[in-house]
Every structure is written in C-alpha cells, then in structure tokens.
Symmetry: C2
Subunit: 420 residues, 2 copies
C-alpha cells in the first residue's frame, strides 16, 4: 500500500491511561514515515470523522506527545455516540468513507470497548463494499474489563489500583475511629454489569481482618438479611466493617438497588448512588454510625495513582495497532495475552474483531467466594499483577502537570455538512 | 525534673499524616533517654488514659516507628469523646492524674484540634491544683485547618493536595466527554464550618478555563439562582462545568443544603450528601447530564498522595512537642510560623494553649472571590505551598505498605475500673 494517512479516535468513557495509547499510536506512526503520512485524530471521537472535524497531530511536538503518557482522559475528546444500524441506514458509514477518501486515510484505528470493535468491523466491511482500501484495527480500552479475548483491558488496571488503594486507606481510617465513631464505611465503585472493579477492591484485603470486609457484586443478587448478618458479624469481630459496592448492585427481582431507596423532597425519582442506600440500611438495621463515599469519575481519571502494568499495556496496544495496520491486518485488534502469573508475563496477541465485537466478558463464577461477599484466591491471582507498579506523573506546585494539546484542525476538503 | 514517662494520644478525626507526628514523638523521645523513660500511647485516644489502657511504644522497633511516617490514620486509635465540664464534674480529670501518677507520667502530649487544646489546658490546671508535676503540650492536627495562631494545621495540606489533584483529574475527564455525555460534575469535600478544603480545590484552576469552575463554600450562603446562572454561563463558555461543594453548604436560612433534598422511600430524613442535591438541581434547571462524587474519608486517608510539606510539618510539630516538654514549656503548643511565600519558608513557633483552645479560624473574607464562587490570588498564595511536594509510601504488589503496630498494653497498676 502507498503512503496513507492514519485516522485515530477515542470512544466511550475515558480512562487514566487511554492517552498513553494515543501517544503510542502517534509515536509509532512517526517511525513509519514511508508508509504512514499524518495521524489525524477525530475531535470528540467518531463524531470528528462524521463532521470532518479532524485534528492534525503532526502539529504537536514530540515532547507534547510524550506528555500524553502521563495525562488522563481523552486528549482529542471522546464521545458516547452510537452509529445507526448499518442495515437500515448506511449513510453514516458511507459518510465516514467519504471523509477518509477526502483526507487520503488508509488506516482506521478505533480505541474503545465492545461497541467500538463492532463499529470498526462494520466500517471495514463497508469500505470493502465501496471499494475503498482501508485497514481497520480496533484498539482495546475500557475500565470495565469486559472485552472478550484479551486477558485484560487497558484502563482497568489503573481503576483497580485506585479503588484497592482507596479502600485500604479508608479502612485504616475507620479502624482507628471505630471505638467511638464510624463503624461502617461504604465505598461505591463503577461497573454497571460486571464486578471487576468491585473485585479489585478485594485486593486490599491481604491479611485476615483487612479492609474491605464485604464486597457487593452486580453478579450476586442483593440479599438484605444475609448482608446485614455479615456486617454485624464483622463489626462484632473486628470492631468495624468496610464495604465496597458496585453501582450495578441489584435486588432479587433485578432492580438496581440505587433506584430502590432515594427520592427527592417531592418524591421524584432517585438521585443515583447505591452507597448511601446500603449505608442507610445498615444504620436502620444495626444502628451503627456510617460514612459513605462515591468515587465516580475520580476512579477512572486518577492518573496520579495509575498502574504501571496498565500503563505499559496501554502503550503496547497502541504501538501494536499501528504495526498491525502497517502489516495490513484488517479487522483485527491487538490484545493482552497472559503467559504466566508469577512472575507475571504478558505479550501482545492478535485477535479477530469478530471474536470481540458484541461479546461481553463477565467475572467467572469461581472468582467470587462461595458466600458471595468476597473474591477467591484464583481471582486475586488474576487481578494482582494488573495493579503492580507505580507510574507517577510529574508535578509542579504540588499538582500533576497534565498536558493539553493544541488540537489544530485539518482544513476541510468536503463542502458538505453532515447532520449527526 | 527526674526521668519521667511520656503520654501521647491522638484525638478526633485522623489524617493521612498524624502518624508522622506520632513517629516524631517516639523517635525524639528516644533521643532524650536521660529525661524521658517510655512513651505510652493512649489506646483510642484519651479513652486509653481514662481506662488505664496504655500502649507501650517501646515494644515497637525503630523500623516500625519509621514506617508510621508513611501510614495514614491513627496508629493507636483515636476517639471522638468529650470530657465532661470540669467545673461540674472533675472526676474524669482526677482519674487522668491518678493514671498518670500510677505510671510515672510527667509529660502529656495531646495531638488534636481545638477541643484537644482545651483538654490539655484543663489537665494542666488540674495537675497543678492536685500538686502533680505534669508538663502538658498540645500538638496540632486537623484537616479542617481551623486552629488559631498556627499558620496551617498538620493534616490539612494532604487533604488539600488530594482534593486539588482529584478535581483536576475529574475535570480532564469531563472535558473530554462533554460533547455527548456528562456536562456537569460535582465533587463534595469535607469542611462543615470552614471552607479551607473547598478552597484547596480551587488550586487546580491555574489557567483560564481550568477545573474547578465553581466553588461552593460554607461561608457563602447558597443562592440557587446565582449558582444556576453561573453553571449555565460556564457550560456555554467551556462546554462543561466542574463544581466543588463543601459538605457544610447552607441555604439563606442557615439550613444545610444536604438536608434539604433527600428523603428515603418512606419520606424519612436525609441520607447525607450535598453533591447529589446540587447535581440534581442542575439537572432540573438546565437539563444537563451530571455526575457526582463524594470523597468522604478517602480525602483524609489518602496517604498515597500526601503533601510533602504537610508531612514535614506533621513530623516537625511532633519533634518540637517533645522538645517543648523536655524544656518544661507547660501549656504550650508548637505551631507553624510562615516566614515567606516565595520561596516558602516556615519555622516552628511556640504558642500558648490559651490562645488556641476554643478559638476557630475561618477563611478570611479576602480569600473568597467577590462573586463568592472561587478563591482569590491571596488565597492561592497562602494555600499553594501547603500542597507542594510528593511523599510516596512504599508499595508491594501494587499496594501501599502501611504498618500495623503491635500495640502491646502496659500492665495495669490501678485496681480500679473507670466507667466512661
């Protein structure tokens, strides 16, 4: 293939390390001068491609690109935007090809989760149908760790580290105050469908009695009585109890627990937040002083405590994606392949996007302890290497120095507007 | 004075660095072998002294004591326990002296906030009245930064750093998603009466447009309309808006905003949390997608991102407290004296407990911007040095290695139980 430009976009919820993938894409592409022209990024993800709002990354210095490795969030903007069903309306896909053709784009790299893998696949097919030569490569990213095939998902290890560190610290705090003050602490973490992040909290409990004492997974239906008995036993035994709860915790009849309790003063809807509901329940049933925290975006933006392993893997998939593109591996995705646990060794493998798109990876049953309230040793062996290593950003005036790109637009070539 | 034992106790809410003060007390006392016998710590604060439940810190190795410098929370336990009014019932104070006498304690070091300074003062007076020679020295600590005389309070700088880093990171996240997803993010921070922690969030906004865009202080009565107009303008201008709100935010009639909105399904009371109330308000008035986080204990336990300045000062006040004790400075407290802002220079000064007990330090009016929604340059100049420097704990398996002490009890000498 002749020298072509490369299009890269970030999709869906951002992470603490997705910009490391972006840095890898740009840095690697710059090393293939004979094959790759410029790297164009989509402003706000795929929306940038649809609206021909491309960012010229060649305007960014090598130092700036390098700084992306320690900058959380999506440097070019991301989006939650679902393309229409290609069988009913292919116009969006055709528009993408039109934009790619106008800008001489021969490589399409899409950095995201399940949906993005599916989108990459569809774009690959329509390009072929339209006779436009395009190499489509998916690049994995999601804090939810729910992608198929890959051993883990870039972005997850850093959230995992953040929540494990945070609940360990909060546990120490509660332990020292429990005699006369707070006895029960509840931390709410992300993971609407899969309990990977909740499970990661469990890593902090390395020794008998360590926090967290109770994990509430979205995979395990919430049994109020069993839960209260568990908390009571824990407080009797250790003097306090720390709990990590998934935002996706559900009652026996499948409702989100976060939606069962809270009403505003007018009786309207819920305000979100399962932690206060669980904490309040403990207070009502056991009359114990409680505190609760909701980490929300703090957990997935926490570049200051990113996992070195996760950072390395995020960079590696970006680098591999460009190499796959240059090699013409259309319809693929670089994935993490685990070779061994101790010592932890991993390599980059090549997956078929067909095997990833629209599959979801849940926690294996044998990762959850029989009583449903904690992780097993098998789960710990899987998770532990993913949070290993620290990779601190540089600081100035006590604050991490995250970079903002210039994000200069590529001059438009099409005279047409495109309505989203 | 002949060689005497030293009693040390932690009081009230713990911090990420109060154990550094404890380490300093023990390490410094060990250097005064001719003057100080053993350091006894109160188990669960002053309760340990009342119940004669003392911890023998001589059983801890030098390495263990050193590890306290990187361990958050209260290593001997703390408590929220108010001694009775000495004029109505002096029995608790007399009991303390009885315990001190039994264990040959000649130095009393109490590590806490306003209440603890007051307690130290009272104990000093009753000891004198009872003819028991006791040197009482207060040791400053509080995340609330509301102690008088001292320029800042050990413990505050680390919370300040945590919240500033966190809202910067969350701001980057929201900025990259705002086009199609979350537009407004609300972070709730501690500070029931004084807005110091809320103000510290403002440090993250170094350049025009940086997060946080809006600060809601407990010192400024909440004006819904002005607030909504501000958020709206911010979203119009930057595409998104990040807000830091104090848990102590109040309405014009003095009610906590956290208590105005939330009811459980039965219409009962509030569940705590001002962030969801503020976020919901934005949604109702402006129809923008929101997210909110409540940092709660995570902020004050976050040793992983402690401020080096704060750590140094926490150690310095512990060291100075022992030196004050040995010098016989009864009824005093070592405080932080700021010598200059740029470069930031500080020394330890000596304050009279009378000037600290029962005084509260609020944010100066000229630290809050005229519109009430941000900090002034003067405030920034004051706060900025307090979060400077990183002081990372050691890690193993991706997790910070915090120490647990043996906390061996000192054999009881009194045959009497004491009812709390």
């Amino acid at each position: 293939m002749a020298k072509k430009n490369l299009f890269y976009a970030q999709s869906g919820g951002v992470t603490a390390v997705i910009n490391a993938t972006a840095a890898a894409v740009i840095e690697t592409a710059r090393r293939y001068k004979s094959r790759i022209g410029k790297v164009y990024a989509g402003r706000d993800g795929i929306i940038g491609a649809l609206t021909e709002d491309l960012i010229d990354t060649s305007k960014e210095s090598a130092a700036t690109v390098k700084a992306l490795k320690h900058t959380p969030s999506g440097a070019f903007g991301s989006c939650r935007y679902k393309l229409r069903d290609i069988d009913k309306d292919a116009s969006q896909y055709e528009r993408l090809i039109e934009v790619f053709r106008a800008h001489d784009i021969g490589y399409f790299l899409y950095n995201g989760g399940n949906d993005s893998a599916d989108t990459s696949l569809k774009i690959s097919r329509i390009a072929e149908k339209m006779g436009y030569p395009l190499i489509c490569v998916g690049v994995p990213k999601t804090v939810d760790n729910d992608l198929a095939v890959t051993d883990t998902c870039p972005g997850f290890g850093s959230v995992a580290k953040y929540v494990a560190v945070s609940i360990r610290e909060a546990g120490f705090d509660v332990a020292s105050m429990a005699r006369t003050s707070t006895r029960v602490f509840v931390l709410e973490v992300m993971g609407r469908h899969a309990g990977w992040i909740t499970a990661a909290c469990g890593l902090a409990a390395e020794r008998e009695g360590d926090a967290p004492h109770v994990l509430l997974f979205p995979e395990v239906r919430f049994d109020q009585d069993k839960f209260i008995a568990k908390v009571d036993a824990c407080v009797q035994h250790y003097g306090y109890c720390t709990i990590a709860v998934s935002e996706g915790l559900r009652t026996a009849d499948g409702k989100f627990v976060s939606e069962t309790g809270l009403r505003d003063a007018f009786g309207h809807a819920q305000l979100g937040g399962v932690a206060p509901v669980v904490a309040q329940l403990v207070q009502q049933k056991l009359n114990l002083k409680y505190h609760w925290a909701v980490a929300d975006y703090l957990q997935r933006a926490a570049r200051h405590i990113a996992s070195k392993t996760d950072l390395d893997q995020s960079y590696a998939v970006g680098k591999a994606a460009v190499e796959f593109a240059v090699k013409g591996y259309n319809g693929t995705m670089p994935v993490i392949v685990r070779k061994s646990n101790r010592p932890y060794r991993w390599i980059i493998g090549k997956a078929d996007l067909n095997d990833i798109a629209n599959h979801e990876k849940f926690m294996p049953e044998d990762f959850i302890r029989e009583d449903g309230f904690h992780i097993t040793d098998k789960c710990r062996a899987y998770l532990s290497p993913l949070i290993a290593g620290e990779a601190y950003p540089p600081y100035r005036n006590g604050l991490p120095q995250y970079i903002r790109l210039k994000n200069r637009p590529v001059p438009k070539k099409l005279g047409t507007e495109f309505k989203l």
